[in-house]
Symmetry: C2
Subunit: 418 residues, 2 copies
């Protein structure tokens, strides 16, 4: 390899590194890493493993020649996720333990002294012949193995050849860039999950004092997601609505028990107080810089505005109502009708759809209602996924019951201590 | 420049890129970017600007020769943050608008036809002579200018020379890596801020129904931070406690109004119900994978456990009480004593300290009390920073008042519509 081409290769790697750093979706990132690693080393096929809980987890496989033969869909079916221990007996495990690149000219001719063997199960199943292989540990800056790149069958002029020794350095540079990009994507993912979890707690805390269950807010948010998808929103926008709608009833935290937990019908004055949960929600959520909290404020303020202008708190009408409000009112009402509550049974689907249809243009934006009606099968799946169980009701609110339980527990502890 | 050295330079740049990607603290990252850019181009000095709201914001400056002459502290005082418009009249602005590297052999000899001029104000103030300059726009993958690197006085054998044309490519590669690293650090920062904001809302929602103010939880959390710092915790651990302690009273959301908002003394039975807010908080926060929520659960459950075992809910004693609980009880009591509440005036500092001292070993872990007493000046500053104002009290809970206001507003709107 000439030095000029080495400089070019490294310069290209720089661009690959920048590209990797820009991808925050872990699945897309892993796909791109393997693709670039194969391109740089002229490999026909490859597999990427991540290290998790001291195991190697299979994540992605790619094979150009099989893909050409069979097409993408069949290829995808051939790969099933699996995991394996990190041991010296597998090639990937060996590279993970030694933290060194393994460059094997022919997997059928591994020296007898080696602790690892090639597992030909996949070759047989896929009617593929693995021959040359380069296995590259992805090391982060602390020299921790983040994952393993297994590159298979280097090609030169259409024939399988061993991987050039000169590629080892390039592959290992790429693997280091990949490692830090993976760790960054995981960090971003963790931060998002932690935030989502906190948002969920805020929603749970609100439903806590109400006659609802934690599953109500999950279902309701997922119905919102369905509608947003149906409206053709971007993935990011859809997810943000999923998050922000979790907080739609947060204002109920400010409603007195006497109103919020009254068993019978509310008086007109009590109803006015109850309606005020929209404004209180807006107050709790106001003044944030974060997009999701800004949107959740809109949801809190407008999820009881009706399309014909007879809703609350502001009596907005039609397109005056932010789209978030028009979506959440439908999701909220659908779930209220189709779920059991402490004070009522669930209605059957036919009846629910009939009631929703009657609200077309009065409660609901017709366009949004149509989108939702077009996705009923998905809505049914959400209902099944977040079903309420008997113990979900009154779990927290029945304080006396809780107190008794705790008292009993304390007595038990005291007894054990005696 | 030889090709072999070019390959080495690019290989080194790869490692710089990996290093940059691993830094998530924006200030540290900007420092490192400028340092590496100066090293790669052999520049004596340099300045880094970020683009924000269509302006160039000065962020970092470094100058080796002045640093050698004057030392770090005096250097730092010489640089004051400033911003300037992005215009063709400044060198940095020109590079930002054209997105091209500007390589100026001598800033005193800029051709008359150029739209930009060198601003020598800083040179005069610092008794420094800027001569050669290379100005590099930091472009992200979408070709957006994230910032500007201004490198000053290339050195060769101790003399100032123009920047070599060959360095332009290296500098621009480094600038691209820097751009994506900056955007990633900003994304991480935004995600953290958004999460912190949500945690704060959860805290606010809890205090909302109580006799506290939003500032109480801010002060209380910052006192926790003070103590954790004093105990020598890492930055990360200190920050996590700041966040998790914001949620210490979240369980009050589950306490009935009749108890939570009772004006006078509680009966023993009511007090038992009130004490249950610790357990309810633990319930709201349980089962999370996120470190901050796990810790907040511990805080919620243990911030009323006393060192001598007479606290609640479990009557834990001494080191049985998680350190988070031993810290938060002190922070909480200190703030309760030293702040005005609706039903009482604030105590003077002397009296507060006397009461805390009496709780040494009974309420409080002596070790933690000593740490806190050692940081009273910082505690005073926190008190001043998050002072309660008259309008912070009863803002939300006085629902009738809110309803009247809203009613008035609605009437006004109706009048305007007539």
């Amino acid at each position: 390899m000439e030095l000029s081409s080495l400089a070019e290769d490294f310069e290209e790697l720089l661009n690959v590194g920048i590209a990797l750093s820009s991808v925050h979706d872990l699945d897309k990132l892993l796909d791109l890493i393997l693709k670039e690693a194969r391109r740089v080393t002229h490999a026909d096929a490859g597999t990427l493993y991540l290290v998790q809980d001291e195991k190697l987890i299979f994540k992605v496989s790619q094979c150009q020649s099989l893909m050409d033969r069979w097409g993408e869909e069949r290829m995808r079916k051939m790969y099933q996720s699996f995991e394996m221990p990190i041991s010296r007996e597998s090639i990937a495990g060996y590279a993970a333990l030694t933290k060194k690149i393994l460059n094997i000219p022919n997997v059928k001719e591994i020296p007898r002294g080696a602790s690892y063997r090639y597992n030909s199960a996949w070759d047989e199943r896929a009617e593929y012949t693995s021959q040359s292989m380069m296995v590259v540990p992805m090391l982060d800056r602390g020299d921790k193995v983040v994952g393993i790149l297994q590159l298979i069958n280097a090609l030169r002029d259409g024939r399988v050849v061993p991987f050039l020794a000169e590629y080892e350095k390039l592959a290992s540079s790429l693997a280091s860039q990949a490692a830090v990009a993976i760790e960054n994507a995981e960090l971003t993912e963790d931060l998002k999950q932690a935030h989502l979890d906190t948002i969920f707690r805020l929603g749970v805390a609100a439903e806590y004092r109400d006659k609802e269950t934690a599953n109500h807010i999950k279902r309701m948010s997922h119905y919102c997601l369905l509608i947003a998808e149906g409206l053709g929103w971007t993935n990011e926008a859809v997810n943000m609505l999923l998050w922000s709608s979790l907080m739609h009833d947060v204002g109920k935290l400010g409603i007195p028990d006497a109103v919020l937990q009254k068993p019978g019908r509310l008086t007109p004055e009590e109803r006015r107080i109850m309606e005020y949960h929209t404004v209180i929600g807006g107050n709790i959520l106001k003044g944030s810089q974060a997009g999701v909290l800004k949107q959740s404020r809109i949801v809190a303020l407008t999820h009881h505005e009706k399309f014909d202008g007879t809703g609350y708190p502001r009596g907005l009408k039609g397109e005056q109502i932010p789209i978030e409000g028009r979506i959440t009112i439908l999701a909220d009402v659908f779930d209220a009708l189709s779920s059991k509550r402490v004070y009522k049974e669930a209605l059957g689907e036919e009846e629910v759809l009939c009631i929703l249809g009657e609200g077309r243009g009065s409660f609901f934006d017709p366009k949004i209602l149509d989108v939702f009606f077009g996705r009923l099968q998905a809505a049914r799946e959400i209902r099944g996924r977040f079903e309420d169980w008997a113990e979900d009701f009154d779990k927290f609110r029945n304080l006396d019951h809780l107190m008794i339980e705790e008292g009993a527990e304390r007595k038990k502890t005291e007894r054990n201590l005696q």
